[in-house]
Symmetry: C2
Subunit: 212 residues, 2 copies
């Protein structure tokens, strides 16, 4: 069975992985401080190793390996909420979204799929995590499923015990408020083997692998 | 300009990266102890992340990213020396060598190229490091050049100051004898920024990036 993997999930010392708002001008809202030490959120380059080749960048570049489809929350796809009032919105990423696979966007407001020349196809689905995962596996051609965030989406899959691998990046910053993956997940770590490393940039990386 | 990169170069505490002999039955000769803590020398899987997903495996999997061609010494291609007495020898790797790019094999005894269905093509070249590198760059279509070893080959390129990136993996083992990349390279480290990390397996990884 293909795995459900979370990569490059940045988290503050007080446990937040996103701010309290997102706008078209500020895709990461008031959580910019999370990305001051490393540009992990910059998607360009994850298919290749950027220069210089640091441990942080090698870890970030595991993002795409063996992935057959992504699942993301609607807020990662765009700043809108409610019924789609802008059918011209094609995501944050221009003409070449970095995914290069099918992407399932979870939304209560379904719309027609959006296909790009580089293999990225956004499918819009109103479904619970298990149903969305089954749909993504059909699209993934045997590859793993990357759970792409945001943190609210990751939290729902964690609470449903559907995550096999989690790459957390703890950033030495305090946000004070924001969105967290942790509510409702107490005891979750007991089911995983966890490896922890620190890098010269001051980041702490954790690799959670579900115990067999 | 594309980079010359060395990945997954294992080294003992006393500085050896290979044993003193290689045979058809023992491709890593008497240096097996180098690979007891991690199967980094097992090439299968480097295009995908193996399970469980550990820091060691993520580091190993950077091997293929952005690579357009490899250069290797003849001893990595096979156990023979001198004139080719076995034209049927097609390398250690069966019908699907893991390289999937052109590979320049350095040898004093040139022979016709060997092509495989998965994109791997071995070219046999009698040339000094700078000439071999120019030839590999022509084949690499803009990608980086991976210097694939063995250690004697890496040493020659280091001595010629042709290496831009070096991923060293120090293994807590003493070999006593073997082949080293270090002779003739004193002072080399001064030209690189070096990041060092240890992993839970007991390995120490170093990432050397040539200083700009």
């Amino acid at each position: 069975m293909s795995k459900v993997r979370v990569h490059n999930l940045f988290i503050s010392l007080d446990g937040f992985s996103a701010g309290t708002y997102v706008t078209a001008d500020e895709p990461i809202g008031d959580a910019r401080a999370l990305f001051g030490r490393f540009d992990g959120r910059v998607i360009n380059g994850v298919h290749h190793v950027a220069e210089p080749i640091t441990a942080d960048r090698i870890f970030a570049s595991a993002w795409g390996q063996g992935i057959g489809a992504e699942i993301m929350g609607r807020r990662k796809f765009g700043p809108q909420s409610g019924p789609w009032d802008d059918d011209d919105w094609r995501g944050w990423w221009g003409d070449a979204p970095p995914f290069r696979t099918p992407v399932v966007v979870l939304t209560h407001y379904e719309r027609a799929p959006l296909a790009f020349d580089n293999g990225t196809v956004f499918h819009f689905l109103d479904a619970d995590p298990a149903t969305a995962l089954a749909f993504a596996r059909e699209l993934a051609d045997g590859g793993d499923i990357r759970l792409g965030g945001g943190p609210s989406t990751v939290r729902q899959f964690l609470a449903a015990d559907l995550v096999d691998f989690l790459h957390l990046v703890t950033v030495p910053v305090v946000l004070g408020e924001g969105t967290s993956i942790w509510p409702g997940t107490a005891g979750l770590a007991d089911g995983f083997d966890i490896e922890t490393l620190t890098t010269g940039s001051g980041l702490t990386h954790q690799f959670w692998n579900r115990r067999r």
